[in-house]
Amino acid sequence: MTDLLVRPTSESARQRLVKGALRSREIAVFVILVALIAVATVRSPNFLVGSDGWRDLLVTPSILLLLAIGQTVVIITRNVDLSVGSTVGLTAYLVGRLFVDQPGIPIVVVALIGMLFGAALGLVNGVLVAFGRVPALVVTLGTMYIYRGVFLEWAGSDRINAGDMPSGFLRLGTEQFLTIPVLTLVALVMLVIVGYCLRSLRWGRELYAIGSDPAAARLYGLPVTRRVLGAFVICGALAGLAGVFYAARYGTVSSGAGRNLELEAVAAAVIGGVAIFGGSGTVWGAAIGAFLLVTIDRVLPILGIPDFWQRAVVGGLIIGAVALDRVLSLRRERQLRQARDDARSGS
């Protein structure tokens, strides 16, 4: 028959799982990450085995992890948020100022204020993109400079030092729970929450639909404007939380805080299999991508690779990831065309 081009798979749920896993980008990137850690550990056992090594391995990526989650939510809707680096810096400074101006303020309250502040900055992006119908690349490039400018104006030559912040807050940067650093734990909780929402809630799936074909989403009657707005707010809130982390982890906040983090977040998402044109990819992949990026930064010097090549490796990784996507999708397209041909000539 010519009309049945696709037959239902006769494979069991287990077969499907195995096949899916073999094709999954998340697992491929995870394997590279593990291999990298293994090589580094063989070269210098302290990288993994020492208590500091273990802790650094986990805690260093936590800031980028949060940003990569937020960036993924936005990229899935076929947008991008380049202002998150500036949001991190601005929020980190706000956190410091709060501790300076309101001594004794509870840490939880500060963290919440940080997230709310980030969410507000995300809302500005969202409003401009969703209502102004201006491409997100342009809008967030603009707000990236604006937020950075506000930061410079506000802070002046002032900077927040470790002494300005309570020791309980700074301890968060190093504290562990069941050998897992607290910051990493919080970031992982966020990862699970967002991952769950994107997979299992209606609005999460609608974000994918919007990114997959924005025009069809409007025709379909999905609340596109509201969803895009929401995606930017989530991204902003996570960037705000990342700013709180930044203050806790590094202790000092100067005007350069968070610079270039936005591009690393995009890179982490892309390496983790999030399609830059929206519609596909998961936060799990982006999270592994974030771990990989940060770990590479630390492993390559151990392997004695010169500075220049370290940057180039990261660049190669990004281009490799995109090229891989392209090759795979071309192959799939060819297979589908072939299948259609076969179905026709078989008629």
Binding site: E206, Y208, A209, S212, D213, A216, G221, L222, Q338, R344
Partner: protein
């Protein structure tokens, strides 16, 4: 009328509906009344306002005036979501699926079944999708992504959406345009089943044989207005055609006799996997050759490959006996080819630039003075062409985007005529052009052929092909299934070849002849 006879109040009542876009009046007074348990045909020429009316029903557009009642209540939909919630499902000409998501998610997006905590119940969703597919008699893996589905299967997904929505009214806007006859028949079976459940179906099609085979009532529109409604049992194709056209068909297609010269284009054994196979055709000087077939049969792909926009796997293209290298539009232009693509706004014109700049675009290299392109030179080249084509534009520096479809098409043609081609390939020359301007485009093509140009015209409009072409090649599923001279090219012969590969389904001929005659 059928709905009056059945005694049920109509589900959908539209009266005096008007809609304009800026100065363009797309719909003057649309009227449509559809009863439950009925398949109602909406017919009319391109530009008659059918699609605009559909979009008003769907909530894509808000009407400027007129009455709109659904299930007995006045409604005014501000969004597609509202009409959907009210129980209206619309299948558009182009299926609107999310390519990255599974077919099941495409069906249930925004309405997924949930478990506690508003969590999407995937197993229930897949099971429901499988149930709907079973009911439709199709075997589609509910977990596969929508990307790469054939148009027929995409339409099945759209129908599955409508069924899962439990829609009271299903509107199908030219659903069969790109389907083979087997696929179309499957769609009709589904439509009849929906009708028998008491739902109302509005069916838009250009193929009158389908209308007469499937529907019980037909409403005709012309030039944005309601013309009349007839029960199918009490009317004939002749009556419907005369209502649609409102004038003699012959007036529309002024093909003048022209002296046929030597072979200009010679295509032999052209093949691109998955697109078309073993295409052989010739076009002579002074000849208009039609390339007929259904949407999606591969005609545009053939044209793009001949012109060198896309590559091909095997075969050859010759201009005046000289081979033209593949994948090089520049070489094709040098060899004397010109291609006016189907999608004017996207591919044919730089829509936000002036008429002069558009006309001179293809020969820009020749107009430069010391490497600079002067506006004066552009205007100098553009003026005679715009004059000859009667492009109605007050000034050459007017933006192409502000002109009507017909004038845009003339500018797109003028751009290529400026290269002085020997062969003009033109894809859907009159799509989206109003009836009056259509004949101007036709006269222009006929003129060009009369002056010795070879014209290869792709058209989905049967009347256009039959009226204009000296010879017709019919393409079906990527193969040429017939070559017909002007005398042999009857609607029957073309439609038959367009829906049958290599003599399959010969039994269906009889039915075709009856309704097309």
């Amino acid at each position: 009328m059928a709905e009056a006879a059945s005694g049920h109040p109509p589900i959908l009542e539209l009266s005096e509906v008007a809609k304009s876009f800026g100065p363009v009046l797309a719909l003057r007074s649309g009227r449509l009344e559809v009863g439950p348990g009925s398949i109602h045909a909406l017919v009319g020429e391109n530009g008659a306002g059918k699609s605009t009316l559909v979009k008003v029903i769907a909530g894509v557009y808000r009407r400027d005036g007129g009455g709109f009642r659904f299930r007995g209540a006045d409604v005014d939909f501000g969004s597609t979501g509202e009409s959907k919630n009210a129980g209206i499902a619309v299948i558009y000409q182009e299926p609107t699926l999310f390519p990255d998501l599974s077919v099941t998610e495409n069906i249930f997006m925004g309405r997924q079944p949930t478990r506690s905590g508003r969590r999407i119940d995937y197993p229930a969703m897949y099971a429901e999708a499988e149930r709907i597919f079973g009911r439709l008699g199709v075997a589609i893996d509910p977990r596969r992504i929508a990307d790469g589905l054939s148009i027929a299967d995409q339409q099945i997904i759209e129908i599955a959406k409508a069924i899962s929505l439990d829609a009271t009214l299903l509107v199908m806007d030219e659903p069969t345009a790109a389907l083979s006859s087997v696929e179309a028949e499957r769609l009709f079976t589904i439509a009849r089943a929906l009708r028998d459940e008491g739902r109302a179906v509005v069916f838009i099609s250009h193929r009158l044989e389908e209308v007469f085979g499937l529907c019980d009532t037909v409403t005709v529109m012309r030039d944005g207005a309601y013309v009349g409604t007839r029960a199918i049992a009490e009317t004939s194709t002749d009556e419907v055609v005369s209502l649609m056209v409102g004038r003699e068909v012959a007036d529309l297609f002024p093909k003048a006799e022209a002296a046929i010269g030597d072979v200009v284009l010679e295509v032999d054994g052209l093949t691109a996997a998955g697109e078309f196979h073993d295409i052989g055709l010739t076009v002579r000087a002074g000849e208009i050759v039609g390339l007929a077939g259904l949407v999606g049969a591969g005609r545009s792909e053939i044209a793009r490959a001949v012109f060198g926009v896309d590559g091909y796997d095997a075969g050859s293209v010759r201009m005046n006996g000289v081979p033209v290298p593949p994948r090089s539009p520049r070489a094709s232009i040098r060899a004397g080819m010109a291609l006016v693509p189907e999608d004017r706004r996207q591919q044919g014109l730089v829509i936000d630039q002036s008429v002069a700049r558009n006309v001179s675009a293809a020969i820009r290299g020749r107009l430069t003075t010391l490497g600079l392109l002067l506006g004066r030179a552009e205007n100098r080249v553009a003026a005679p062409w715009a004059g000859r084509l009667e492009v109605k534009t007050s000034a050459l520096d007017m933006d192409a985007s502000t002109m009507s479809g017909g004038n845009q098409q003339k500018v797109a043609i003028a751009k290529w005529l400026a290269t002085e081609p020997k062969l003009l390939i033109i894809d859907e020359p009159t799509r989206g052009i109003d009836v009056g301007t259509k004949s101007e485009v036709h006269r222009l093509l006929s003129d060009l052929a009369g002056r010795g140009m070879a014209v290869l015209m792709i058209s989905s409009e049967l009347q256009e092909v039959l009226g204009m072409a000296d010879r017709v090649y019919v393409v079906c599923e990527g193969r040429i299934t017939a070559e017909l001279g002007r005398d042999e090219a009857t609607p029957d012969a073309v439609m038959h070849a367009a829906t049958h590969v290599g003599g399959h389904l010969a039994g269906a001929t009889h039915a075709d002849e009856k309704v097309l005659a």
